[in-house]
Symmetry: C2
Subunit: 312 residues, 2 copies
Amino acid sequence: MHVFDAAAVHAALPWPFLIEALRKAHLGEMPASDVVVQSDPTGGEAQFVTLPGWAPGGPIVVKMVGVFPHNASLKPPQPAVQGLVALFDGKTGGPLLVADGAAMTARKTAADSALGAALLSREDAEDLLIVGAGALAPHFAEAHLAARPSLRRVMIWNRTVARAEAVAAQLREKGIDAAVTGDVDGATARADIVSCVTMSDTALIKGALLRPGTHLDLVGAYLPTLREADDAALTRGAIFVDNRNNMQGGGDLSQAVASGAITWDAVKADLFELVRGERKGRTGADQITVFKNNGGAHLDLFTASALSQTLG
Amino acid sequence: MHVFDAAAVHAALPWPFLIEALRKAHLGEMPASDVVVQSDPTGGEAQFVTLPGWAPGGPIVVKMVGVFPHNASLKPPQPAVQGLVALFDGKTGGPLLVADGAAMTARKTAADSALGAALLSREDAEDLLIVGAGALAPHFAEAHLAARPSLRRVMIWNRTVARAEAVAAQLREKGIDAAVTGDVDGATARADIVSCVTMSDTALIKGALLRPGTHLDLVGAYLPTLREADDAALTRGAIFVDNRNNMQGGGDLSQAVASGAITWDAVKADLFELVRGERKGRTGADQITVFKNNGGAHLDLFTASALSQTLG
């Protein structure tokens, strides 16, 4: 059995390889998966989530992830979300690999959005705006650059400017043309691809400002109470999701449905339908496309399977 | 995070250490645990079982185990049961260790019975009979010798004699006085402790033959259709179980209840009650004690916690 720590996970899954692995995986069936959420038995806020999944004819994966909101206040601080992903041979049950959970989550989440951008964004997109400067932000910048090589520049906006500066510096070290903007509205109006990776509970992206042809990627609002883009973004754009089974959990679409701005019928396709060619993606250079990334255990399985391919 | 392969699991958990760790763990609460059983999505016989548990104020453990009946016919053959145990810090969710599942299961199962024998068998027990010669048999011999140091001799009986010979030879290499018997009835009548670790579906132990004072350990009959000891063994003996929550699954007690030989009220105590002194164990040198070991996810958690203590 192989063990991949965080650095080994990132090294083993270059973006072009992982994006293509996810694309191919979406040609197959959605794996069967379960979820067990356990709360701290002493009554604390912490939760531990276990997600076992089994791909038909493929491997078995178990994602185990702790969500401990108070970890940031520990001395030294620890990430709130930590865990492991374990992969087993679907023909024997034998353990194949164990991988750092936070790195796997970062990798699969960014590659999921990057696959969406590869399928939906304009082929001549040049300007990428990343909204948010948390741990995932640099991964989202790099994954989009891999998915759409025409991109020339990355702008970073974040409520706390110093963190945006840190992400931009980190990207520049890798030779990427990255800069910080203090004007999210202006940057929204200039970008060809906007990727939102925040914990915002109010819309940061005004749909009225989006240029025709822009691709809007929404990642952060994974709870019904969170929101990254306003109703206008959803009514102006053609809406896509990563998978229909999971699309009602996040706030962007569910709040827009609740307000009456859209109905669930507005969702044109998910990644399975797009990859298989069952439904159309972008229909013209002036169309605004919106991709809501809700994630899911199947992406852990697809990503762990890709990791197992690197074992040779 | 530390990784324990099978050899490292066995080396890190010497029997006296593990038996004492299990004893202390039974002073605390039964951990909250869940179980997810997934069947091969292509319709095969194989199953994959995921058991997450969380001890109040303690660690989180996830046991992952594949049950693949056809592994024995593979070339080369593989064990039918394989898997992993992962342990996480209950205060942060951070991964602490991953350990070979088969070795952890062997270790916890034998130590569970050994704790039963330590609490229930006569202190002057000298003769141990092991019934069955599968992978667990040598572990059960060694664990009982550690739990009851007065034991002088080990007899092994198995339907296939050659496998009993192999287990006896393995024990003799460790300096243990071990021999094979072809006469299970005669050996039953001579033994002070009888430990049954079989997959038998008919009773191998005749209760009428048990000597007063014998301790009978029943491990194998984990399904309602399996059976190791007859009704007479259960009516002559004082019955104990490892935990009451799990006691109705195995065939020995459930078939004896179904036949009317005993009622569930015949179960005098479980390990939690015995360790805490809430209920009595053996009440005299002539009493026959019967311990039904049904296992459970809490023992995986206790054993993984013991393993984490070795990390220092």
